[in-house]
Symmetry: C2
């Protein structure tokens, strides 16, 4: 078969498109999008993720103590309910949990803190999430970082990277002892409780 | 140019792939995924969306009154902080808001309710989200349903569809009067406040 060069380019384009198509389809079911992949410095510190506020929020709480929460600021409501804590995980990891019942390697939980604020208007009782504390904490599933298979990382106000919190910290032993599912406090997270078939304590 | 039939199929495949590719690329930037599109019955009732628990959670609150919240059940903690309210929006609509500064037509906010539960163990102060109330409320941006351009819908425990709440209801006038951005209480939602350049009241 003799091919015109302008025709020969079509099979080449087709192969390229097919490859990209297959890659994207595979990413949709198994591999995380690039912005949901944990990234590390050369010496193993975790790089602060971006965009987690749009990840899957698995549970909010008020006034709970978790792991060295930041001190309440001067803008806290007096005698309020304590800080709001929201916990987020990657949408990819959530889909994988739903699909397989297990947290995939690379799962990250982001713990974020918000001042309790009183609703100014319309004037009613209750509290909503005010200023976000700039610090976040992360719980990362990564084989080998600790005997539990998970590591904790704390990011200060403007910290771009965080070394892993050493395994002697109480967060490791507390999660190992109290977590309902693979080091994670799923007992406090409604959508994870629902998926894993557990009820609230 | 004479083409072998086996070669002729390649351009056809290429066109198909290119079309599907372009469609998907367009969906990624502009059009919502199918499971984020509001769907209606023939008589205009909203069909209850699925999977909203994995949408973008824009704000949690405790003890706020919004629009006919369900009565607290017997499992409520006595003298607790009141129900947790979480508000979710479609990831597609969130991306569009970030990109354009406006809520796209078809934006839905889902208001969900959770009982306040005390952390049983590890024993500490505070409350987390316990049982989810099966009812949800939805605020939908849809031209023509009301003079504000938005409609409210209430779904009971097992309700699959909901007619729009009539425009005389107080939710419409309250949102028109108090909302910081296009009928939405963005003043209470940290990531939307951040995107729209407003601070907490």
């Amino acid at each position: 078969v003799h091919l015109n060069p302008r025709v020969a380019i079509v099979p080449a384009l087709s192969v390229l498109l097919l490859g990209a198509w297959a890659l994207q389809a595979r990413q949709g079911t198994q591999r995380p999008p690039r912005d949901q992949v944990p990234r590390f410095t050369q010496d193993g510190a975790l790089i602060r993720p971006e965009g987690w506020e749009a990840w899957v929020m698995v549970g909010a709480s008020t006034g709970l103590s978790y792991n060295d929460p930041p001190p309440p600021s001067a803008t806290s409501a007096p005698q309020g309910p304590g800080m709001f804590h929201n916990v987020y995980m990657q949408p990819w990891a959530y889909r994988e949990l739903v699909r397989t019942g297990a947290f995939p390697e690379g799962t990250m939980f982001v713990l974020a803190f918000y001042e309790p604020s009183r609703k100014a208007t319309p004037a009613r009782a209750g509290f909503f999430e005010g200023e976000q504390d700039p610090g976040i904490e992360i719980h990362l599933k990564k084989a080998g970082v600790d005997s539990t298979g998970w590591g904790f990382y704390g990011f200060g106000d403007s910290t771009r990277t965080a070394a892993r919190i050493p395994s002697v910290a109480s967060c490791y032993s507390c999660h190992a002892r109290e977590a309902a599912h693979d080091q994670v406090f799923t007992q406090f997270y409604p959508p994870l409780r629902a998926r894993l078939g557990r009820s609230a304590p």
